[in-house]
């Protein structure tokens, strides 16, 4: 091999140095979208350690498992005992799922939602967002939307599994869909109501602390304690006061709306005095418990500066 031939095949590495950027710079909407996508990744632990993935996926799998178990029981009963037996036996179905799963959904919100806000404030990363082309309001809106998306997936997943299970276990799946298609918009709407409620409350609490554990413990305590406390008080007063006291059972608030959407009564609200209040009051109450914390949350971040 000649020296010339060897040189001809040789390569040279050039350091082209720093390259400026003169291309497109997208605006505030794009920046907000980037924060939204990052929020979804953070909530699900994507691109993070296995430990960071463990909690969110545990809850998502647990919620899905509830849907799967309900589908297996109801589907099995329908298939092996007779079509419509599950309904006749009043086995839990779509209208009951959110009532049954509500405590897991609240725990999911309490444990995972603070992950989207607390580390940014504890590490000071929020300062880097606020000096970019977004406002504090954009940031919190994007983070709220991120967790709402994750929460919606977690809420709808068991309902979809249940619907598919019931559909596939029916002797005539197409007929099942034609008969029960209304369950789909109902569980989508009920899932949206409960997800928005849990997301907003969890994020508001998380906005007051830089420690995720504090927010999680406070929220779980709030959801768990409010129910026996209000039930105990309400049982002492049988009148309207008792009905209103039972409205402060935080875990039942969105389930009352779920009952109205499905025009049915869930297992966990059937004994609640609040069920006797007018439907519009129960809807307005849930809307208020979502809108007011949302407004406080937005106000807290709107004028935030590093």
């Amino acid at each position: 091999m000649s020296t010339d031939g060897h040189a001809a095949r040789g390569g040279t590495v050039f350091d082209i140095g720093y390259q400026g950027y003169n291309g497109e710079r997208r605006g505030r909407h794009y920046a907000r979208d980037a924060v939204y996508q990052n929020g979804i990744r953070s909530a699900l632990g994507l691109g993070r350690s296995t430990r960071a993935k463990a909690l969110p996926w545990f809850f998502i799998i647990a919620l899905s498992a509830i849907g799967l178990i309900m589908a297996l029981i109801a589907g099995g009963v329908n298939r092996y005992i007779g079509a419509g037996t599950a309904q006749a036996l009043n086995l839990p179905s779509h209208s009951d799922l959110y009532g049954i799963a509500s405590i897991i959904m609240f725990a999911f919100g309490a444990v995972v939602a603070p992950e989207l806000l607390c580390p940014d404030r504890r590490d000071g990363t929020i300062n880097l967002y606020l000096v970019r082309p977004i406002t504090g309001g954009d940031y919190i809106l994007a983070r709220w939307a991120s967790f709402l998306t994750v929460m919606l997936v977690a809420a709808w997943m068991p309902q979809v599994i249940l619907f598919l299970g019931l559909c596939l276990s029916d002797a005539d799946p197409m007929k099942y869909v034609q008969t029960n298609w209304r369950d789909i918009p109902r569980f989508l709407l009920a899932g949206l109501v409960i997800s928005a409620y849990v997301t907003t409350l969890a994020m508001l609490v998380a906005s007051f602390t830089t420690r995720r554990a504090y927010a999680a413990v406070f929220l779980i305590g709030l959801f768990v304690i409010s129910t026996p406390f209000t039930v105990g008080l309400a049982s002492e007063m049988k009148n309207v006061t008792g009905q209103w006291i039972s409205m402060f059972s935080l875990s039942n608030i969105p389930v009352h709306v779920n009952d109205l959407i499905f025009d049915d009564v869930s297992k966990i609200t059937e004994d609640s005095p609040a069920r006797r209040l007018a439907p519009w009051i129960r809807v307005a109450w849930c809307a208020g418990w979502t809108a007011v914390p949302g407004a406080i949350l937005w106000q807290r971040y709107r004028r935030m500066t590093p």
């Binding site: 140095g17 720093y18 390259q19 400026g20 950027y21 291309g23 497109e24 710079r25 997208r26 605006g27 505030r28 794009y30 920046a31 980037a34 924060v35 990052n38 691109g47 993070r48 350690s49 960071a52 580390p119 940014d120 590490d123 000071g124 990363t125 300062n127 880097l128 967002y129 606020l130 000096v131 970019r132 082309p133 977004i134 406002t135 500066t305 590093p306």
Partner: protein, 308 residues
């Protein structure tokens, strides 16, 4: 130096109730590396936050890249900011974090990814880019902070105490990077510091603030010359030496075991030599000396009544 300033403050004031953070301050910042020097509470961070549009001034105007700073949401995509305090997410790796920051600054996803890798290479973190930031040393974290401030190729970058917490070697490397940021990357810099040596070694121009007021604005060379003194210590005949210097129009100020004279240029040494001979004073020590920053502020405060 370009004719239109990149940043301009005109009669800028910021009050927090009865506390005056900035008091009728005016200055222009052009292309290059400018140092803003002052002790804690001097108003440096307040000025930076006003330029970033994060605080609204009480009165006066602040313009950044030709736009009113108070409505600068869009302009912020052309600005970078490196805060003094911790701001890095420990759980993320540097590559992912920089890509995200570039996207939030408006760069398309594929460009953001490329620029994140390039910026980490230029700041010496390329090999470590997939490690979680939480495991980085202080020096590496400072580099990531600088990298996130320039990842979107801003026209202007604000660096707030970039050498804070660094050891001497880390500090030297950071100052090199800052010089490189302007000379090689073409990004103008406003370096906020309370360390004169950092500013002197890095900046072309300097703004000195004290108690929310502007004390000095100009070239670094001129400022450092003004700061220089000569320290003289003799075994005996100090009084005669001071008198001999006085006859030459040189004022002496007692300091410790000796005294200092103002020494803005080399000719003062010839005059000291002649005075030492005349006073027959055995010279023990003759050394160039700098005013401490606090001393300088006190001096400027007295001579200018605290105002520029």
């Amino acid at each position: 130096m370009s004719a239109t300033p990149l940043l301009s403050a005109q009669r800028l004031s910021k009050h927090y109730g009865r506390v005056v953070a900035l008091d009728d301050v005016s200055f222009d910042i052009h292309d290059g590396v400018t140092g803003i020097l002052g002790e804690n509470g001097a108003g440096k961070s307040t000025a930076i936050k006003i330029f970033l549009g994060l605080l609204k001034q009480t009165s006066g105007t602040a313009t950044v890249l030709g736009h009113d700073a108070s409505v600068s949401d869009g302009v912020r995509s052309r600005l970078g900011y490196m805060p003094e305090h911790d701001c890095l997410p420990g759980a993320m790796n540097a590559a992912e974090f920089l890509t995200h920051m570039a996207e939030v600054s408006g760069l398309p996803k594929d460009v953001a990814r490329t620029r994140a890798a390039d910026t980490l290479r230029h700041t010496g973190l390329f090999e470590e880019r997939y490690r979680a930031i939480g495991g980085y040393s202080t020096g590496m974290k400072q580099r990531v902070k600088l990298a996130q401030a320039i990842v979107h190729d801003p026209a202007f970058v604000f660096l707030d105490e970039p050498t804070a917490g660094l050891d001497p070697m880390g500090r030297e490397e950071m100052l090199d990077l800052i010089r490189k940021t302007h000379r090689e990357f073409g990004i103008s810099v406003l370096l906020s510091s309370h360390l004169m040596s950092d500013v002197e070694r890095t900046c072309d121009r300097i703004i000195v603030m004290r108690g929310g007021q502007l004390v000095h604005a100009g070239e670094v060379g001129q400022f450092t010359t003004e700061m220089e003194t000569v320290f003289i210590e003799v075994d005996t005949n100090q009084r005669e030496l001071v008198a001999a210097l006085g006859r030459r129009g040189i004022a002496a100020v007692a300091e410790g075991s000796g005294f200092t004279i103002e020494g803005p240029d080399e000719s003062v040494y010839d005059q000291v030599r002649d005075a030492v001979v005349e006073a027959e004073a055995p010279l023990r020590r003759l050394a160039p000396h700098r005013h401490a920053l606090a001393e300088l502020f006190a001096r400027d405060g007295e001579s200018k009544g605290g105002k520029s």
